[in-house]
Amino acid sequence: MPAIETFYDVMRRQGITRRSFMKYCSLTAAALGLGPAYVPKIAHAMETKPRTPVIWVHGLECTCCSESFIRSAHPLAKDVVLSMISLDYDDTLMAAAGAQAEAALQDTIDKYKGNYILAVEGNPPLNEDGMYCIVGGKPFVDQLRHAAEHAKAIISWGACASYGCVQAAAPNPTRATPVHKVITDKPIIKVPGCPPIAEVMTGVITYMLTFDRMPELDRQGRPQMFYSQRIHDKCYRRPHFDAGQFVETWDDENARKGYCLYKMGCKGPTTYNACSTVRWNDGVSFPIQSGHGCIGCSEDGFWDQGSFYDRLTNIKQFGIEANADVVGGTTAAVVGGAVAVHAAVSALKRAQKKNEEA
């Protein structure tokens, strides 16, 4: 096997100057919300690391996660695929099919035991012996278990892999099941959303490649750098909420003035995601900015919480301070769970370390 090139080697050979490379590293640091002190660390990592093999499998899904991933603006999807990771199996994009595709999967597992990342899009259905989703003549859940066995870590892309999403909405006819309920002995990072934001997806991957570790996770297993605050906390329409200025009906005067969408059913106050800060598609907009309330697509079971247009009843409507108290209470609960979270993360790190030594 020829020596594996590092990310830096690849960039330099593409004619990218050291200066541009360092600039790239600072942009990456900024994108990850890290200070300038981290720039040399990122640069060092990029200079020394080979491209990490990634196996990307697909269960019951709609492929919106893959579509979102290729929308990434920083870094560009082509740079991730050509220079950062080695996407050795992905049935949506790979050249080979059938037997040759299956062989590519097996080769990667054999060659990089314990050193590849398994990315899961979609989820396995367990009814009908798993045959509601068939890959290579067998249940998808078999492929998932097989690929997970020697994975270093698993990324559960999107609401399907993290929570079950639309096919798991009541009555869940196929018994579509999230990844962590099938694979219980591996570190799993949930990156929920339907789909997740592109730059959040590449941000999580870049973080793992750069620091060679799992991101800090909250107690639900989500990277806290992107999922620790609610859309409402950072929404640019928040001042209108606080001032009691609401859209009363679609396309009314208040809608045209960009008032708060809370009364139209916005789920921003109960949804943890980065939409109101990172925004979508290179920062162009996000649902609330384009006039529709948040439907809460990164929350567990969001399909079964009543209509998307039902007003939330578990937050105070006008009382600003009362609302802040409620918010404070929620935060306290999260902080209260921090010890447990920390322990879980440490356990994940231990598991990862163990895998590396094996």
Binding site: E5, V10, R13, G15, H58, C62, C64, E67, I70, R71, A77, L82, I85, L87, D88, D91, L93, M94, A95, A96, A97, G98, Q100, D107, P125, E128, D129, G130, Y132, C133, I134, V135, G137, K138, C165, A170, N172, P173, T174, R175, A176, C194, P195, T249, W250, D251, R256, K257, G258, Y259, W280, N281, V284, S285, P287, Q289, S290, H292, I295, S307
Partner: protein, 598 residues
């Protein structure tokens, strides 16, 4: 019994060597294909199988019809938005809701953005590797590649020898690293690849350029719908208000937003004209003699039509994408299509993993029944959880078999273009005649895998022009003082009739798409979708008619049966979308009991 004649004119012989392709890759979702080849490596039997099922229609029962767009949008993240549009149209049809003019223009711009995006991503990222060999590109002369680029697409600015050298170097280092990633185990020494290295390098370069461009195209969705994939829609119009110069216009569609939309439309137009169509002509030129894969396209084509010029008017003469049906290969007669007629669209399940309780029955979607029945035929090899070979004489797919007046139909860009051409649609006719002239090909060449691929490129360019048309139309409307984007008269369920039923139709990138909804007491009573890949990927029906995928593979020569290059080439030309096709219907929880979806 190994030879069978189908009513739609094919002779199926499964006595030769059986070749299985599973998974079929570079598609949306999960699919399996089996073929038999004779001693000359000609395909004599084809079996196409949808290998996933999600049950969204039963999940929709009892829910608020105003929410249905969000559920159905998640049928597919590749053709994102088109199910949502079909859904709001179905609900508006049921409830008699009229949308404003601006909403029609915005919806059209979003739907057209999807068409363009989907066609470009399909050609460059899912289909190109069936024709283009990136490994062969390493042998190209960058200077000659630059000359080729300037010859085929003289207006494309990225064409210098240095530019192609840089891309080639990047590719070289990638290949030499030993980590081939997505190109691993490709069929790079298969004689089916015919391009000279320079064309391979040019096309591979455009693979990367298109990857950068596609993320711009979808920003039309982000501006009007807040995000992509899966933008937001609204029953009654669109959720984004327009506020050109009033107080708070920074929070609405304003001049800056509109300028961004306009610049994206320009970018798409330029890429279609300078790169996409020239690439299809250049690559197609080397495969001119590979005219396999026509299948049903010269016999039976169906299009519902889309992109209404005016809001709420879906009469055929008002649609920019044509509506009509062609049967029995008679291009001189285009039949009208009525989705409400119980005799026209019907679904059959005799070869699908469902049962209607009695064999041979076809059901119109408003009366659709779905009950799963997963079982392999007596001649299948393997077990129920380890399929080696399927038995196509029995049930063999999670896809139902929809038929139009009993006929298996092809849908999609080629079907739309065949229907449009037959109807004398001026823009379509000019495009097709122009392309054939340039490539020095007869009209009959259209009915092929290449024709399907070319129709998609032509349609992408046509859609760019339509996008500009609707942008200008909306600007004129705004100039005339109309900023309305939503009609809320019937937003409140208390204003609805006790019972109502409606149908919504669109042309998804992959073809004719219909949603049928029944509403009772403000809730969804029944919801059925008949989607493009259900038409194209359908298994045999009661009469034994084969579907479009299967028909297109028949009588194709494969160079090496163990390497499915030609099979992938033709299947990919339909842009299969399996999550769409196999979403249908039914049971409760873990017990797989009978549930009637009606």
């Amino acid at each position: 019994m190994s030879v069978l004649n189908t009513p739609n004119g094919y002779t199926m012989d499964n006595s030769g060597k059986r070749v299985v392709v599973d998974p079929v890759t570079r598609i949306e979702g999960h699919m399996r294909c089996e073929v038999n080849v004779d001693e000359n490596n000609m395909i004599t039997n084809a079996v196409s199988t949808g290998t996933m099922w999600r049950g969204l229609e039963v999940i929709l029962k009892g829910r608020d019809p105003r929410d249905a767009w969000a559920f159905t949008e998640r049928i597919c993240g590749v053709c994102t938005g088109t199910h949502a549009l079909t859904s709001v149209r179905a609900v508006e049809d049921a409830l008699g809701i009229q949308i404003p003019d601006n909403a029609n223009s915005i919806r059209n711009m979003m739907q057209l953005a999807l068409q363009i995006h989907d066609h470009i991503v399909h050609f460059y990222h899912l289909h190109a590797l069936d024709w283009v060999n990136p490994v062969n590109a390493l042998r190209a002369d960058p200077k000659a590649t630059s000359e080729l680029q300037q010859k085929v697409g003289p207006s494309h600015p990225l064409s210098s020898p240095g530019y192609f050298r840089d891309v080639q170097n990047r590719l070289k280092k990638f290949v030499e690293s030993g980590q081939l990633g997505l190109f691993k185990n490709g069929y790079w020494d298969n004689p089916a690849y015919l391009l000279p290295p320079e064309a391979d390098l040019m096309a591979t370069t455009h693979y990367l350029e298109a990857l950068d461009l596609q993320k711009e195209i979808v920003k039309v969705h982000t501006i009007f719908g807040g995000k992509n994939p899966h933008p937001n829609w609204l029953v009654g119009g669109v959720p984004c208000p327009i506020n050109i110069d009033g107080v708070g216009s920074v929070g609405a569609i304003n001049m800056e937003r509109l300028n961004l939309v306009s610049s994206i439309i320009d970018k798409c137009q330029e890429f279609n004209e300078n790169v996409y169509i020239p690439d299809v002509i250049a690559i197609g030129g080397f495969y001119k003699n590979w005219l396999y894969g026509g299948g049903l396209s010269s016999q039976a084509c169906l299009a519902y039509g889309d992109i209404p010029e005016n809001p709420n008017d879906f009469s055929p003469e008002q649609l920019h994408l044509p509506r009509g049906a062609i049967i029995n290969g008679n291009l001189n007669e285009v039949h009208d299509v009525d989705p409400r007629d119980p005799e026209q669209v019907q679904e059959f399940v005799d070869h699908s993993w469902y049962t209607y309780g009695e064999p041979g029955k076809g059901l119109h979607p408003w009366d659709g029944v779905t009950e799963p029945q997963y079982e392999l035929g007596p001649n299948a090899k393997g077990t129920r959880t380890n399929i080696i070979e399927l038995d196509e004489a029995a049930k063999y797919s999670w896809i139902k078999a929809p038929r139009w007046k009993g006929h298996a139909m092809e849908v999609g860009p080629l079907a739309r273009y065949v229907v449009g051409y037959a109807k004398g649609h001026e823009d379509i006719k000019n495009q097709v005649d122009g392309l054939l002239r340039k490539m020095d090909l007869p009209l009959s060449a259209v009915f092929s895998t290449l024709g399907r691929t070319a129709a998609r490129a032509l349609e992408s360019e046509y859609c760019s022009r339509l996008q500009r048309h609707f942008f200008d139309k909306m600007m004129t409307n705004i100039k005339n003082g109309d900023e309305s984007t939503a009609n809320v008269e019937k937003w409140d369920p208390s204003s609805w009739p006790k019972e109502a039923k409606g149908v919504g139709m669109t042309e998804a990138p992959r073809g004719a798409l219909g949603h049928w909804v029944k509403i009772k007491d403000g809730r969804i009573e029944n919801y059925q979708c008949v989607v493009p890949t259900t038409w194209n990927g359908s298994p045999r029906d009661t009469q034994g008619n084969i579907g479009a995928f299967e028909a297109s593979l028949m009588n194709t020569k494969v160079e090496r049966p163990e390497e499915p290059v030609e099979i992938l080439r033709t299947l990919h030309s339909f842009d299969p979308c399996l999550a769409c096709s196999t979403h249908v219907m039914s049971p409760d929880g873990e017990e797989l009991t009978t549930v009637k979806v009606r």
